[in-house]
Subunit: 501 residues, 2 copies
Amino acid sequence: MESTIKQYENIRKKMLAYQFVNFMISWDSNTEAPEGCFPLRSRQVGILSEETYKLQTAPETVKIIDELYLRRDELDDEVLKHEITESKEGLDKLKKVPIDEYIDYMSLLAESESIWAKAKRGNDYEIFRPTLEKIVDFNRKYIKYVETDKLKGYDILLDEYEKGMTIQEYDQFFEKIKTELVPFVLKIIDSNLEINDEFNKLHYPKSEQKEFLEYIVKVLDFDLNKGVLKESEHPFTSGFGTTDVRITNHYYEDNFTSAIFSGIHELGHALYEQQVSPDLDYTLSGGGGSMALHESQSRFYENIIGRSLEFWKIHFPKLKGIFKKQLRGVKVTDFYKLINKVEATLIRTEADELTYPIHIMIRYDLEKALFNNELEVKDLPKAWNAKYKEYLGLDVPSAKEGVLQDIHWAGGSFGYFPTYALGSAYSAQIYKVMNKDFKVLKSLETGTTKEINLWLKEHLHFYGSSKPPKELFKICVGEKFNPKHYINYLIKKYSKIYNIK
Amino acid sequence: MESTIKQYENIRKKMLAYQFVNFMISWDSNTEAPEGCFPLRSRQVGILSEETYKLQTAPETVKIIDELYLRRDELDDEVLKHEITESKEGLDKLKKVPIDEYIDYMSLLAESESIWAKAKRGNDYEIFRPTLEKIVDFNRKYIKYVETDKLKGYDILLDEYEKGMTIQEYDQFFEKIKTELVPFVLKIIDSNLEINDEFNKLHYPKSEQKEFLEYIVKVLDFDLNKGVLKESEHPFTSGFGTTDVRITNHYYEDNFTSAIFSGIHELGHALYEQQVSPDLDYTLSGGGGSMALHESQSRFYENIIGRSLEFWKIHFPKLKGIFKKQLRGVKVTDFYKLINKVEATLIRTEADELTYPIHIMIRYDLEKALFNNELEVKDLPKAWNAKYKEYLGLDVPSAKEGVLQDIHWAGGSFGYFPTYALGSAYSAQIYKVMNKDFKVLKSLETGTTKEINLWLKEHLHFYGSSKPPKELFKICVGEKFNPKHYINYLIKKYSKIYNIK
């Protein structure tokens, strides 16, 4: 047993090193790499994936994991036990996928995002369509390869992004969005709340926006000695272990609140990564517990904290100090209304807190249709546009404002979107529980989020991904997921802002 | 045979992928990585180096290379033939060094640079001496292990950095520097040329320096679609293949010519990499042909082109347009004199074009003495200072401005320095030959270096490292290396600037 564990630890070391390599390459691809490098780069990525795949599926690896899995009840180390269970399940799946197809798919993904970017820039779905078709085809085949009696179809993809979540559960969740939130949103949109937001139409220089973001980094207590702040086309968080956590942001000079909230959002993800137990840096159980748990943290900081009146009562003076001219005479309540303005809009990433889950519901519906074989890639733009009309009453004028807006599908991520809405819902439930321990918004008067960070560290972050996500959530809030907290939170907050009785 | 070649190609693919990984990691470490990430990162780097070493020395790899080497005359593919010969020689050498000594040396090198940095910061040679002694000891033993009838002593180290170069040849070269250049330099230094360089003491904002560098990138026709321009502490060039070539620069607001010339220097390296035949991207024969050949290109663009009057007649107006205030009333001839000002100085990296090879000659003499066992590490500072007195008339006031100034020896690089001077000398010979085909400096009137780039592509760059460096040089200039062209070029140029008859 001892020696088998040692052997496993040796393999784990290599797997971690390959994870590090993946982090390096994807960070570089998304921030720095020149466009012309991708054909050659994708070859290298293909070869490296093959090496990783070989290591993961080597007979020696399989033997060791099988052995440890069989004797898992004898393992004292809970982290190891969880890791072995995960690896065993992963391996069982991986073994079912033909290596050539897997490698081809990896090479495809190495350049698909740059093709998507080109299509989006050119506002031309047809540039991206053939690539997307290949990606969807692979995923359909993948489903067939790995399906079991218990798990079939789109459930397989959902489970990959959020272990334990199924169509059944998501359907229940989105049903509540559909029946309770959508009518409420329509009521809000119909109401005629007057918002003084002339100041939002002014010019806000990038350099000064960056200055404010550096201030926000301090407010949220993100450690730059173990992190990086950078620009990229699309904001994201990436990293390796607790000592190298990176976020990017994008600044719009004609829309100054965008970078503030995408910044706080990514910082939420980043704090989660930085607050994982450093012991887990040497295991495969570091990082956030799941996609939805990760998103619950980014959304928590972005919306529950970042879009609260209490937060801005403290920090609006700093913002006014930086943008003296633009914000002259603007009251904090004007700003609060602006950042919580509800509108039916086309772009998910710019959606307000309230309409956001509707954008996700649309993507969920489309993905479900794609993998139920009720929809083909070529018909995706039409289906997309129809949904936006149905739920948000909008006409989609172009592909780049429609089906091409998100990078996810270009990266092969199907089953990912629903975790965003789930994360938002999680955050409301976490907020409710946190408030039993201390007055969350009142704690902001200290000028930082340190008390909140600490609570989240102790109740969630510290565990990394060393347990199944549903278990982590239960440890954090003491009960199962219940979407009613989310609906209640939203209706309470927005009824107040919009004076709805 | 066919199948052995296929096997070799498979190994080569993996080696290339590991080269790519090294490029990614070292680029990131030098430009982006947060300080706190290094302990965890160095573990990953260690694991990845071990994997690379295992691949290189695996019995299967050795067998395939041995087999192809034995039958190398049957190989039609000249690139492959060259690669196999190189690999065979490298492996044979590696096999002669006891593995435990090699590993000890690698661990020594893993910390030697930080010990050197500490010694330099503290200006105390004694801090570094014991480490340097171990490094020199290993290299003396290494020489014994790998020496053959043909190659002995310091020649072995010289050959590692510049294949085919020997003490005999370097001695002839440096003898010419000693007897012809040194007296000329002393004459120049004694002359009292008046240089109006008050403008050089003004403040030049970084953002405007960057704007000029972006202009220079266009002048030199560096393809940013296959390249990156970035900042770092020390300028360097790095890349993978022809489609991802990256340079960094460092801007000093109180010394505006520094970034211009380090920029042009690195662009010279970068153009070489970008103009290699794209076919070689899939082999181990891409990149520049040798250290000296690489340096010949960076020095060619930096000095022969970049410090010519003809270049600045075209581009000085642009510089004046950017620095209107600072360069008001400054004539192009003033600027030309400034950038060609000759001074005896202590620091190699800040030396001018004319005194530069003297700094290298000093290091060459000292290295030769060390490996001829005529000098011991403890006596190095004394010997260093005596040489600076002898050749440049300077008293060395401190170790950090003397023997501790360069990082190279701390990294175990003995035999590397001479390639810098050789590269400069190569560039003058290339320049002479190029002028037979077209008027090089006159071609600058077009506003770009495109004609020069094309000539260098056809005569040198295109071949990458697919042939031995001496062969590449001969293809380029049609004859053997002859240092007289370098001496003639320098004496002609500086006699004119300094009015020396």
